[in-house]
Symmetry: C2
Subunit: 151 residues, 2 copies
DNA sequence: GTACGTGCAAAATGTTTGCATCATT
DNA sequence: AATGATGCAAACATTTTGCACGTAC
Protein backbone atom coordinates (compact mmCIF):
# COMPACT_ATOMS: atom_id res chain seq x y z
CA UNK A 1 0.00 0.00 0.00
CA UNK A 2 1.34 3.36 -1.00
CA UNK A 3 1.78 5.93 1.72
CA UNK A 4 -0.65 8.16 -0.10
CA UNK A 5 -3.20 5.37 0.05
CA UNK A 6 -2.68 4.88 3.75
CA UNK A 7 -3.30 8.55 4.39
CA UNK A 8 -6.37 8.71 2.22
CA UNK A 9 -7.87 5.68 3.86
CA UNK A 10 -7.48 7.39 7.20
CA UNK A 11 -8.83 10.69 6.03
CA UNK A 12 -5.52 12.51 6.08
CA UNK A 13 -4.18 14.65 3.29
CA UNK A 14 -0.96 13.64 1.70
CA UNK A 15 1.97 16.00 2.10
CA UNK A 16 5.71 15.64 1.60
CA UNK A 17 6.21 16.17 5.30
CA UNK A 18 3.75 13.56 6.43
CA UNK A 19 5.07 11.04 3.99
CA UNK A 20 8.64 11.56 5.15
CA UNK A 21 7.67 11.39 8.81
CA UNK A 22 5.56 8.31 8.31
CA UNK A 23 8.26 6.49 6.37
CA UNK A 24 10.89 7.28 8.95
CA UNK A 25 8.70 6.20 11.81
CA UNK A 26 7.62 2.99 10.10
CA UNK A 27 11.17 2.14 9.09
CA UNK A 28 12.78 2.25 12.50
CA UNK A 29 12.41 -0.32 15.24
CA UNK A 30 13.38 2.21 17.82
CA UNK A 31 10.73 4.55 18.99
CA UNK A 32 11.92 8.04 18.34
CA UNK A 33 10.88 11.19 20.12
CA UNK A 34 9.41 14.00 18.06
CA UNK A 35 12.73 15.71 18.15
CA UNK A 36 14.69 12.65 17.08
CA UNK A 37 12.29 12.16 14.23
CA UNK A 38 12.70 15.79 13.28
CA UNK A 39 16.44 15.37 13.08
CA UNK A 40 16.13 12.15 11.10
CA UNK A 41 13.73 13.54 8.54
CA UNK A 42 14.73 17.16 8.41
CA UNK A 43 17.78 16.79 6.11
CA UNK A 44 15.67 15.13 3.41
CA UNK A 45 12.76 17.47 3.90
CA UNK A 46 13.78 21.08 3.43
CA UNK A 47 12.04 23.58 5.62
CA UNK A 48 10.43 21.03 7.87
CA UNK A 49 9.57 22.42 11.26
CA UNK A 50 9.45 20.69 14.60
CA UNK A 51 5.92 21.93 15.14
CA UNK A 52 4.83 20.07 12.04
CA UNK A 53 6.39 16.91 13.36
CA UNK A 54 4.37 17.27 16.54
CA UNK A 55 1.18 18.08 14.69
CA UNK A 56 1.69 15.23 12.27
CA UNK A 57 2.39 12.68 14.97
CA UNK A 58 -0.67 13.81 16.83
CA UNK A 59 -2.71 13.41 13.65
CA UNK A 60 -1.30 9.91 13.17
CA UNK A 61 -2.22 8.97 16.71
CA UNK A 62 -5.75 10.23 16.28
CA UNK A 63 -6.42 8.09 13.26
CA UNK A 64 -4.58 5.09 14.62
CA UNK A 65 -1.51 5.19 12.42
CA UNK A 66 0.77 5.59 15.40
CA UNK A 67 0.91 5.34 19.15
CA UNK A 68 2.36 7.61 21.73
CA UNK A 69 4.57 5.97 24.33
CA UNK A 70 4.86 7.86 27.58
CA UNK A 71 8.15 8.17 29.32
CA UNK A 72 8.61 7.89 33.03
CA UNK A 73 12.03 9.32 33.00
CA UNK A 74 14.70 10.05 30.53
CA UNK A 75 17.54 8.17 32.13
CA UNK A 76 18.43 10.52 34.94
CA UNK A 77 15.87 12.41 36.91
CA UNK A 78 13.05 14.16 35.24
CA UNK A 79 10.47 13.91 32.54
CA UNK A 80 11.49 12.87 29.11
CA UNK A 81 9.84 13.34 25.77
CA UNK A 82 7.09 11.19 24.39
CA UNK A 83 8.10 8.49 21.95
CA UNK A 84 6.17 7.33 18.93
CA UNK A 85 5.53 3.93 17.47
CA UNK A 86 4.08 3.10 14.07
CA UNK A 87 3.26 -0.45 15.08
CA UNK A 88 -0.28 -0.35 16.22
CA UNK A 89 -1.05 -3.91 17.21
CA UNK A 90 -0.44 -4.92 20.80
CA UNK A 91 3.17 -5.67 21.49
CA UNK A 92 5.61 -5.33 24.34
CA UNK A 93 8.29 -2.78 24.96
CA UNK A 94 11.65 -2.84 26.61
CA UNK A 95 12.60 0.41 28.25
CA UNK A 96 16.15 1.20 29.23
CA UNK A 97 16.28 2.78 32.66
CA UNK A 98 19.51 4.57 31.89
CA UNK A 99 18.83 6.14 28.53
CA UNK A 100 15.05 6.13 28.26
CA UNK A 101 15.30 4.27 24.94
CA UNK A 102 12.42 2.01 24.03
CA UNK A 103 12.55 -0.94 21.68
CA UNK A 104 10.16 -3.73 20.80
CA UNK A 105 10.22 -7.16 22.31
CA UNK A 106 10.56 -9.63 19.41
CA UNK A 107 7.17 -10.73 18.09
CA UNK A 108 7.51 -14.33 19.08
CA UNK A 109 8.12 -13.49 22.71
CA UNK A 110 5.48 -10.75 22.73
CA UNK A 111 2.92 -13.10 21.36
CA UNK A 112 3.70 -15.82 23.81
CA UNK A 113 3.09 -13.49 26.69
CA UNK A 114 0.00 -11.85 25.27
CA UNK A 115 -1.52 -15.25 24.63
CA UNK A 116 -1.34 -15.97 28.30
CA UNK A 117 -3.54 -13.10 29.34
CA UNK A 118 -6.85 -14.80 29.98
CA UNK A 119 -9.70 -13.00 28.32
CA UNK A 120 -11.98 -13.79 31.27
CA UNK A 121 -9.73 -11.53 33.24
CA UNK A 122 -10.45 -8.62 30.95
CA UNK A 123 -14.13 -9.48 31.05
CA UNK A 124 -13.99 -9.45 34.83
CA UNK A 125 -12.37 -6.04 34.86
CA UNK A 126 -15.16 -4.71 32.74
CA UNK A 127 -17.83 -6.35 34.86
CA UNK A 128 -16.40 -5.48 38.28
CA UNK A 129 -15.07 -2.01 37.67
CA UNK A 130 -17.11 -0.85 34.73
CA UNK A 131 -13.97 -0.24 32.75
CA UNK A 132 -13.78 -0.89 29.05
CA UNK A 133 -10.26 -1.97 28.11
CA UNK A 134 -9.18 -0.67 24.73
CA UNK A 135 -5.54 -1.50 24.87
CA UNK A 136 -3.04 -3.41 26.96
CA UNK A 137 0.34 -1.82 27.44
CA UNK A 138 3.14 -3.95 28.78
CA UNK A 139 6.63 -2.73 29.36
CA UNK A 140 9.73 -4.34 30.78
CA UNK A 141 11.85 -1.75 32.49
CA UNK A 142 15.49 -2.51 33.07
CA UNK A 143 18.81 -2.14 31.42
CA UNK A 144 20.98 -3.64 28.75
CA UNK A 145 24.15 -5.39 29.77
CA UNK A 146 26.75 -2.70 29.68
CA UNK A 147 24.20 0.02 29.21
CA UNK A 148 24.03 0.12 25.41
CA UNK A 149 20.64 0.51 23.84
CA UNK A 150 20.70 -1.19 20.45
CA UNK A 151 19.46 -4.75 20.31
CA UNK B 1 6.60 1.54 61.22
CA UNK B 2 6.73 5.22 61.90
CA UNK B 3 7.23 7.51 58.95
CA UNK B 4 10.41 8.77 60.56
CA UNK B 5 11.65 5.21 60.67
CA UNK B 6 10.85 4.63 57.03
CA UNK B 7 12.82 7.69 56.05
CA UNK B 8 15.79 6.83 58.21
CA UNK B 9 15.92 3.33 56.86
CA UNK B 10 16.11 4.77 53.36
CA UNK B 11 18.70 7.35 54.23
CA UNK B 12 16.34 10.31 54.02
CA UNK B 13 16.03 13.03 56.60
CA UNK B 14 12.73 13.52 58.26
CA UNK B 15 10.93 16.79 57.65
CA UNK B 16 7.37 17.94 58.16
CA UNK B 17 6.99 18.32 54.42
CA UNK B 18 8.22 14.87 53.56
CA UNK B 19 6.09 13.28 56.19
CA UNK B 20 2.96 15.04 54.97
CA UNK B 21 3.67 14.19 51.35
CA UNK B 22 4.40 10.59 52.13
CA UNK B 23 1.29 10.15 54.21
CA UNK B 24 -0.91 11.67 51.56
CA UNK B 25 0.60 9.57 48.80
CA UNK B 26 0.39 6.37 50.80
CA UNK B 27 -3.18 7.06 51.86
CA UNK B 28 -4.73 7.48 48.45
CA UNK B 29 -5.47 4.75 45.95
CA UNK B 30 -5.48 7.23 43.15
CA UNK B 31 -2.17 8.26 41.78
CA UNK B 32 -1.88 11.98 42.12
CA UNK B 33 0.26 14.31 40.07
CA UNK B 34 2.78 16.48 41.89
CA UNK B 35 0.37 19.36 41.62
CA UNK B 36 -2.60 17.39 42.95
CA UNK B 37 -0.48 16.25 45.85
CA UNK B 38 0.60 19.80 46.47
CA UNK B 39 -3.01 20.91 46.68
CA UNK B 40 -3.91 17.98 48.94
CA UNK B 41 -1.08 18.55 51.38
CA UNK B 42 -0.61 22.28 51.20
CA UNK B 43 -3.49 23.31 53.50
CA UNK B 44 -2.12 21.19 56.35
CA UNK B 45 1.47 22.16 55.67
CA UNK B 46 1.97 25.91 55.83
CA UNK B 47 4.47 27.32 53.42
CA UNK B 48 4.90 24.17 51.40
CA UNK B 49 6.13 24.85 47.91
CA UNK B 50 5.46 22.92 44.74
CA UNK B 51 9.17 22.63 44.09
CA UNK B 52 9.55 20.77 47.35
CA UNK B 53 6.83 18.37 46.32
CA UNK B 54 8.75 17.63 43.13
CA UNK B 55 12.06 17.30 44.93
CA UNK B 56 10.56 15.09 47.58
CA UNK B 57 8.82 12.80 45.14
CA UNK B 58 12.02 12.48 43.18
CA UNK B 59 13.86 11.59 46.40
CA UNK B 60 11.21 8.98 47.19
CA UNK B 61 11.57 7.45 43.74
CA UNK B 62 15.32 7.28 44.07
CA UNK B 63 15.20 5.30 47.29
CA UNK B 64 12.29 3.14 46.18
CA UNK B 65 9.57 4.63 48.37
CA UNK B 66 7.53 5.62 45.35
CA UNK B 67 7.19 5.12 41.65
CA UNK B 68 6.66 7.55 38.87
CA UNK B 69 3.93 6.70 36.40
CA UNK B 70 4.31 8.29 33.02
CA UNK B 71 1.37 9.70 31.19
CA UNK B 72 0.80 9.33 27.50
CA UNK B 73 -1.79 11.98 27.36
CA UNK B 74 -3.95 13.90 29.68
CA UNK B 75 -7.28 13.06 28.21
CA UNK B 76 -7.29 15.19 25.13
CA UNK B 77 -4.20 15.84 23.10
CA UNK B 78 -0.97 16.67 24.75
CA UNK B 79 1.38 15.74 27.46
CA UNK B 80 0.15 15.37 30.95
CA UNK B 81 1.89 15.39 34.25
CA UNK B 82 3.64 12.46 35.84
CA UNK B 83 1.73 10.58 38.50
CA UNK B 84 3.13 9.03 41.63
CA UNK B 85 2.43 5.78 43.39
CA UNK B 86 3.53 4.73 46.87
CA UNK B 87 2.86 1.07 46.18
CA UNK B 88 6.12 -0.32 45.09
CA UNK B 89 5.41 -3.98 44.42
CA UNK B 90 4.35 -4.99 40.94
CA UNK B 91 0.72 -4.31 40.28
CA UNK B 92 -1.44 -3.28 37.35
CA UNK B 93 -2.92 0.05 36.47
CA UNK B 94 -6.06 1.17 34.78
CA UNK B 95 -5.69 4.38 32.83
CA UNK B 96 -8.66 6.40 31.71
CA UNK B 97 -8.22 7.61 28.16
CA UNK B 98 -10.46 10.59 28.71
CA UNK B 99 -9.17 12.03 31.94
CA UNK B 100 -5.70 10.55 32.30
CA UNK B 101 -6.61 9.25 35.76
CA UNK B 102 -4.81 6.14 36.90
CA UNK B 103 -6.05 3.67 39.50
CA UNK B 104 -4.91 0.28 40.66
CA UNK B 105 -6.35 -2.97 39.46
CA UNK B 106 -7.58 -4.85 42.55
CA UNK B 107 -4.88 -7.08 44.00
CA UNK B 108 -6.63 -10.33 43.32
CA UNK B 109 -6.92 -9.63 39.62
CA UNK B 110 -3.42 -8.17 39.41
CA UNK B 111 -1.96 -11.20 41.02
CA UNK B 112 -3.80 -13.60 38.79
CA UNK B 113 -2.39 -11.96 35.74
CA UNK B 114 1.13 -11.54 37.05
CA UNK B 115 1.20 -15.21 38.01
CA UNK B 116 0.67 -16.11 34.41
CA UNK B 117 3.80 -14.43 33.18
CA UNK B 118 6.17 -17.35 32.71
CA UNK B 119 9.52 -16.70 34.27
CA UNK B 120 11.27 -18.55 31.45
CA UNK B 121 10.05 -15.78 29.26
CA UNK B 122 11.91 -13.20 31.31
CA UNK B 123 14.94 -15.45 31.34
CA UNK B 124 14.75 -15.69 27.57
CA UNK B 125 14.61 -11.93 27.24
CA UNK B 126 17.74 -11.63 29.29
CA UNK B 127 19.50 -14.36 27.36
CA UNK B 128 18.49 -13.29 23.84
CA UNK B 129 18.63 -9.54 24.16
CA UNK B 130 21.01 -9.04 27.01
CA UNK B 131 18.39 -7.08 28.87
CA UNK B 132 18.01 -7.25 32.62
CA UNK B 133 14.38 -6.79 33.59
CA UNK B 134 13.96 -4.87 36.82
CA UNK B 135 10.29 -4.20 36.69
CA UNK B 136 7.21 -5.18 34.72
CA UNK B 137 4.71 -2.42 34.03
CA UNK B 138 1.28 -3.39 32.83
CA UNK B 139 -1.45 -0.95 32.10
CA UNK B 140 -4.96 -1.32 30.77
CA UNK B 141 -5.92 1.72 28.82
CA UNK B 142 -9.56 2.41 28.23
CA UNK B 143 -12.47 4.21 29.78
CA UNK B 144 -15.00 3.93 32.53
CA UNK B 145 -18.62 3.49 31.61
CA UNK B 146 -19.96 6.98 31.41
CA UNK B 147 -16.54 8.52 31.65
CA UNK B 148 -16.26 8.91 35.42
CA UNK B 149 -12.93 8.11 36.99
CA UNK B 150 -13.56 6.95 40.53
CA UNK B 151 -13.84 3.22 41.06
C1' DG C 1 28.22 22.91 63.28
C1' DT C 2 27.54 20.70 59.06
C1' DA C 3 25.06 18.77 55.61
C1' DC C 4 20.96 18.63 53.70
C1' DG C 5 16.08 20.34 52.82
C1' DT C 6 13.14 24.27 51.74
C1' DG C 7 11.02 28.25 49.33
C1' DC C 8 11.01 31.40 45.99
C1' DA C 9 11.62 32.92 41.48
C1' DA C 10 13.88 32.16 37.43
C1' DA C 11 15.44 28.83 33.89
C1' DA C 12 14.97 24.74 31.27
C1' DT C 13 12.46 21.52 28.77
C1' DG C 14 8.75 19.64 25.92
C1' DT C 15 4.63 20.68 23.47
C1' DT C 16 0.87 23.50 21.50
C1' DT C 17 -1.14 27.47 19.09
C1' DG C 18 -2.17 31.89 16.30
C1' DC C 19 -1.65 33.51 12.09
C1' DA C 20 -0.18 34.31 7.46
C1' DT C 21 1.07 31.54 3.63
C1' DC C 22 1.09 27.49 0.80
C1' DA C 23 -0.41 22.90 -1.04
C1' DT C 24 -3.87 19.29 -1.76
C1' DT C 25 -8.15 18.04 -3.04
C1' DA D 1 -11.99 27.68 -4.81
C1' DA D 2 -12.08 25.69 -0.38
C1' DT D 3 -10.19 23.28 3.14
C1' DG D 4 -6.66 21.88 5.56
C1' DA D 5 -1.34 21.71 6.40
C1' DT D 6 2.89 24.25 7.20
C1' DG D 7 6.35 27.31 9.39
C1' DC D 8 7.55 30.47 12.42
C1' DA D 9 7.51 32.56 16.81
C1' DA D 10 5.31 33.17 20.76
C1' DA D 11 2.52 31.00 24.42
C1' DC D 12 2.02 27.17 27.69
C1' DA D 13 2.62 23.59 31.00
C1' DT D 14 5.51 20.87 33.58
C1' DT D 15 9.59 20.12 35.91
C1' DT D 16 14.24 21.59 37.50
C1' DT D 17 17.63 24.74 39.55
C1' DG D 18 20.38 28.60 41.99
C1' DC D 19 20.65 30.72 46.00
C1' DA D 20 19.71 32.38 50.72
C1' DC D 21 17.86 30.66 54.69
C1' DG D 22 16.25 27.18 57.97
C1' DT D 23 16.31 22.60 60.18
C1' DA D 24 17.58 17.80 61.28
C1' DC D 25 21.15 15.18 62.76
Amino acid sequence: MTARGVFTRHGLRHTRQRQAIYEALAATKEHPTADELFRMVSPRTPGLSLATVYNTLEAFCEVGLAMRIASTSNGKRGTGSARYDATVDNHLHLRCQQTGAVIDVPDELSQRLLDRIPSELLAELEAKLGFKVEQVQIEFVGCFDGGHTKA
